[in-house]
């Protein structure tokens, strides 16, 4: 069982991810922009097992959410995967500087995302 926060402003991606990471094994919580993501993180006291985020979104971008998640004090930091259609060298570097665990570029291969999610959840168990 893994509780996942998915931050994405496109409408299709959450539908796909909800399907390929189905309950009861996964519980996917969706935020449609940066503000909602931060609200959800705070309302749930950062009780997520994994965060999947896009980069370019209104209010706060993925890097900001990433840095918020990583700077939040916990014994084990929440793993973060960035899934974005913007991914030039600069952005990937910036992501890794901020401690992102995985960086996937759209279009993603669904099976690959599932494996990466599983691996990160296992690692943090």
């Amino acid at each position: 069982m893994g509780k996942i926060l998915l931050v994405e402003d496109d409408e299709v991606m959450p539908k796909i991810i909800a399907r390929i990471l189905p309950p009861p094994e996964y519980e996917v919580d969706i935020a449609v922009n940066g503000k909602e993501a931060i609200q959800k993180l705070e309302a749930n006291h950062y009780q997520y097992d994994l965060v999947i985020t896009d980069i370019m979104m209104p209010y706060a971008n993925g890097f900001e959410i990433l840095s918020k998640v990583k700077s939040h004090e916990r014994e084990k930091p929440i793993p973060v995967i960035i899934v974005s259609n913007a991914g030039n060298e600069d952005m990937i570097m910036e992501g890794f500087k901020l401690g992102v665990d995985d960086f996937l570029k759209k279009p993603i291969i669904p099976a690959e995302l599932v494996i990466r999610v599983k691996r990160l959840l296992m690692r943090n168990k």
Partner: protein, 383 residues
């Protein structure tokens, strides 16, 4: 009522008849203005109605389409894993509930499939393409390709490119020579993506410049097409008389790290065009060709400013540490601010070898130079 109306018309007619020219013109224009205003209102109403209708259709259709694509394609457990995704015979029956006999229905589904393919690739992406073919959605684009309007043709080519649809060379090549610039550009992209033989052939013949936007589009197509045979770009770097092709090929050489093309780029250092020379220097820097460093330093004094900056940047990227004295000298004695900044940045990038020089410079320089050095050393400042 009728009599009064015709009375008024009669009045207007008599006024018009006896009026001076200016008034006649005014009366005509009053009629023109009123009709144009009414027309504008009708156009606005029509466009709003169409939009509203489209919105309503989308609100009704998209959830259905999404549901179908999910159940039948993305997360369908019945799809056999041992058959290639392009060969799978999909169950098309559930899609009958969509109004695919209407053009807008097909267009909406096509758009959605493209949207999905922007998000997923691999097996799911291939299955989506398979669905597109089995539902005969390519017929509409085929028809558009034969349209009289260039923009319809571009739309069709764009759709084929996004859907990875093979088109016969005989269909594309005439379009690649079209008089319309945008159609030409779209045809080239389609050709690279979809042509089975010699996708880069048009590099030989293109005479008009590839605009920066064309290059952005081509770059995306070339670097994301997986089953493309990458030729040795040296061929065009050496022989093409089209500057934009040469410069674009250098960017591709950098992307593919194609060391076989490096000698051709080095040759460009003798080219008399400043921009090309600067781009060649930049490419060599990005490729980290340490052997050209001496050559670049030797060239330095005879170059215009922006080539000099390119050389300094290249030395920073190559990071061999062999020309730190040269950089130090430029940093201390150049009169141009940008040159000093580029030199300082190059020194900082050579940090491991230049540790002593940096310490020395930090201790001895003052004023603006010290500021430049600190600026370049500060990890918080990216540019």
């Amino acid at each position: 009522m009728e009599t009064t109306l015709s009375d008024i018309l009669q009045d207007i007619r008599s006024i018009y008849y006896y009026a001076p020219l200016a008034i006649k013109v005014a009366i005509i224009f009053i009629i023109v203005a009123v009709s144009a205003t009414v027309l504008a209102y009708l156009v606005m109403l029509r466009s709003r109605y169409r939009n509203y209708r489209q919105q309503r259709r989308m609100a009704r259709m998209l959830p259905k389409i999404d549901e179908l694509l999910m159940n039948e394609i993305i997360a369908n457990p019945n799809i056999p894993h041992d058959v290639a995704p392009s060969k799978v015979a999909l169950d098309l029956e559930p899609f009958d509930e969509l109004p695919l006999h209407k053009r807008w229905g097909r267009e909406m589904l096509t758009e959605r499939i493209i949207h999905y393919r922007n998000n997923v690739s691999g097996t799911a992406g291939d299955l989506l393409r398979n669905l597109y073919l089995q539902l005969d959605l390519d017929k509409d684009a085929m028809r558009k390709l034969k349209s009289r309007h260039w923009n319809k043709k571009v739309e069709a080519l764009n759709e084929f490119t996004l859907m990875d649809m093979p088109i016969a060379d005989v269909t594309i090549l005439p379009l690649a020579n079209s008089r319309n610039r945008e159609l030409r550009a779209a045809a080239r992209q389609a050709y690279i993506k979809l042509s089975k033989n010699e996708p880069f052939k048009f590099f030989d013949s293109v005479t008009d410049p590839l605009l920066p936007w064309d290059q952005v589009e081509l770059y995306r197509i070339i670097t994301t097409t997986t089953d493309i045979a990458i030729p040795n770009f040296a061929r065009w770097i050496t022989y093409s008389s089209n500057k934009s092709v040469v410069s674009f090929c250098m960017k591709l050489v950098v992307h593919y790290n194609q060391l076989a093309a490096v000698p051709a780029i080095i040759k460009l250092l003798e080219n008399r065009d400043h921009t090309l020379r600067a781009e060649a220097i930049e490419a060599l820097g990005r490729l980290k060709i340490a052997e050209v460093e001496d050559r670049l330093v030797h060239l330095y004094t005879s170059q215009p400013l922006f080539c000099q900056i390119a050389i300094l940047k290249a030395l920073g990227r190559i990071r061999s540490g062999r020309h730190i004295d040269f950089l130090r000298n430029e940093f201390l004695h150049s009169t141009d601010f940008d040159l000093r900044k580029a030199a300082a940045r190059a020194i900082v990038k050579n940090e491991i070898m230049a540790r002593e020089v940096i310490d020395e410079l930090l201790a001895t320089t003052t004023g603006e130079n010290l500021l430049i050095l600190k600026h370049c050393m500060n990890p918080l400042i990216k540019y």
